[in-house]
């Protein structure tokens, strides 16, 4: 049995314990997460719906997470009755920025969610949106010093799911499965990506703190690429053979490649895997108990939730229902909840992959506001703090 309670070592609420790690325990409980405040709306003239356009910018359109981002944007667009444009960056900052600029030139009020290719893109994009008097929420990658409150209301919020948490989930899962002893290898994503770095930091810190007898043999950045994960895993198998007891990957894509390598080497039954994202395939493996129940830990969060929340926050700003400058810090630099998934509790999450899950989430979100929709509630304020 593995869950957040164990991670924190106390039977508290999961959202609460998470906040402790974030170093934001002092932050008062966010009480009024209900309907958005409308008090400050009168200052603005509301913009008519036909003059608005929703924009969701994603890194590519092949990664399951990105596809899910698009799904959420579509669901919100259908719900609000506002047209949607998708920006496919094709993995390139240049493409991303130029496509966004083209859309901004279209003249409508832009309500934007950007899953940035690189942190350094964010200031450029935010500036452009500000010039065009649009509203943007940045997800995942944003420079630490680029704070929404310094830019103004056009930069509505920077939102993310804490990577440190994800890494800690994985470390606990593997640590418990191995009984606190053994050797693991790590497959981080793109080496200098913030997301990968925070996940790696969480994983290593948690091992050090809680499972000091587990040794990290090696770490091979695999660029979020299943093929590269596969290749690196092959090399690591040759190098360490059956010394490897556990594999942690920064996302499921790389884990899928790595598991195949271990399966082909006939080692899948002897190794435990943990990763992030609970991709449909991973879920299927978890259900079937592939290998000898090889997957021991996952994290759950969905792209459609990120895009829906991001877009909706911007939408509320555009329609004058909220005024970002009057919001508390955690609503502008937000950390959202992440769920640790184990072979025992995965059933709780399958409902979020039903065909109408995105629409349901959007319905719930519009009812409760962007910060209080299960299973991705606001849990604290950024910037994310790295463990020592």
């Amino acid at each position: 049995m593995l869950n957040l309670d164990q991670i924190a070592g106390s039977p508290a609420l999961s959202a609460n314990t998470a906040r402790k790690w974030m170093g934001t325990a002092a932050t008062a409980l966010v009480v009024c997460l209900g309907a958005p405040t409308t008090a400050s709306a009168q200052a603005k003239t509301p913009i008519a719906k036909e003059n608005m356009v929703l924009v969701a910018s994603v890194i590519n359109t092949t990664n399951p997470y990105m596809i899910s981002n698009i799904e959420g944007a579509k669901a919100l667009s259908a719900k609000l009755g506002i047209p949607l444009e998708i920006v496919n960056s094709n993995g390139s900052s240049q493409t991303e920025i130029s496509k966004i600029q083209a859309i901004l030139a279209g003249g409508k009020t832009v309500i934007m969610f950007v899953n940035t290719v690189a942190s350094s893109d964010a200031p450029t994009i935010v500036d452009a949106v500000k010039q065009a008097k649009g509203y943007v929420t940045i997800w995942w990658n944003n420079p630490a010093e680029h704070s929404p409150k310094d830019v103004g209301d056009n930069f509505v919020a920077y939102q993310k799911i804490p990577g440190v948490l994800s890494g800690r989930c994985g470390a606990d899962a593997i640590g418990n499965a191995l009984g606190g002893k053994g050797n693991v290898v790590m497959l981080p994503g793109v080496q200098d990506s913030t997301t990968s770095k925070t996940r790696v930091a969480g994983f290593t810190a948690q091992l050090k703190e809680k499972f000091p007898d587990i040794k990290i043999l090696e770490s091979r950045p695999s660029n979020w690429d299943p093929q590269l994960g596969n290749r690196n895993a092959k090399d690591l198998i040759v190098k360490y053979g059956d010394k490897i007891n556990g594999v942690w990957s920064a996302d499921d894509g790389m884990q899928i490649g790595a598991m195949q390598a271990f399966e082909n080497a006939g080692l899948l039954n002897k190794v435990k895997f943990a990763s992030d994202g609970l991709y449909p395939e991973t879920l299927a493996d978890l259900k079937s108990g592939r290998g000898d129940k090889a997957i021991v830990g996952e994290t759950f969060h969905r792209g459609y939730m990120a895009s829906a929340v991001g877009l909706y926050t911007a939408y509320l700003t555009a329609t004058g229902k909220i005024t970002p400058s009057e919001l508390p810090k955690e609503k502008r630099e937000s950390l959202f909840e992440l769920s640790c998934v184990t072979p025992d509790n995965y059933q709780q999450y399958t409902k979020y992959d039903e065909p109408d899950a995105a629409a349901k989430f959007v319905d719930a979100m519009i009812e409760k506001g962007p910060w209080d929709t299960s299973p991705m509630k606001l849990i604290g304020a950024g910037p994310e703090e790295m463990p020592k």
Binding site: T61, Q191, P226, V238, M259, Y279
Partner: protein
Amino acid sequence: MDKRKLLHGDWQGATSWVVILALVIIVFSFINPRFASIENLRNVLVQASVPLMLVVGATLVILMGSIDLSVQGIMGAAGMVWILMSPNARGGIDYGAWAWVVATGIGLILGLLSGVIHTLFRVPSFVVTLGTWNVGVGLATILYGDSLLPSLTSEALSQWPTRLTLGLPNSFWLASIVVLAGILLIGFTQLGRGILAIGNNEPLAVVNGVPVIPIKIAAFGIAGLLSGFAGILATMQLGSGAPGVGAGQLFTVIPAAVIAGTALSGGEGGMVRSALGVFLLILLNNGLVLAGVDPNYQSGVFGAILVIAIVAVDWPQRDRLRVAK
């Protein structure tokens, strides 16, 4: 027939390559004895098989003085087609051998398309294949859609590439057959000799009645077919379909061919040398992992060793580099 003499052009400099490869192996074995283990060499062979298949097609095209950038796109499209027609997690019908035929057929068609547009509409191959690359990615993305990741449910298929036959992995056997076919194609067919002639002097080939346009289209077709084939193999190795299954291959394959002495201007080079180039790149990558080089330094070390290796290979020829003569 004197084959040694015939392959002479291809083998030129191949000896220095073999020496360099041997040196790489020796040095890495000293750092980590596991490097030279049978297990690792098999691992290297498995990893080399996809780029080996690709480098055959790439060499054919580069020998003509053209370039084929569509490799990764075609791999993605063919891989997706193949897995959706094979036993996979999304269900659907298992078409067996037809999956292979249709998937490589897609590669062939995309390749031929590049060839036809390049020759008949006189569009530079760089541009055309950039287009077919994206067409391939697009096709793969559409097939991928937004439903479940199609993973291979047949263990027989997903394990086939790494399973051993006569001590060597199946995927390497497959790649060897392709490389051998490539060597024979260049050495013993009029298509191959025509490709060399076009690469050497295209206007002259036209005047000499070499069927330039059909040869070019055929070469692009073969390259597309092989990319499709490689896409299937890569998908099998990965055990699941992904539009980005070929990610990074283009920049393994083209540098491999070029550092092995295949001139981008055409006419010079050959299959044997390109294959050795692939091995150098794969061995270096593998060796650096086994040597435990810090990931932060790996790119730099990789580049430095590569430059040293190339200088060493070209050392005997340095004097020939005169002023434009």
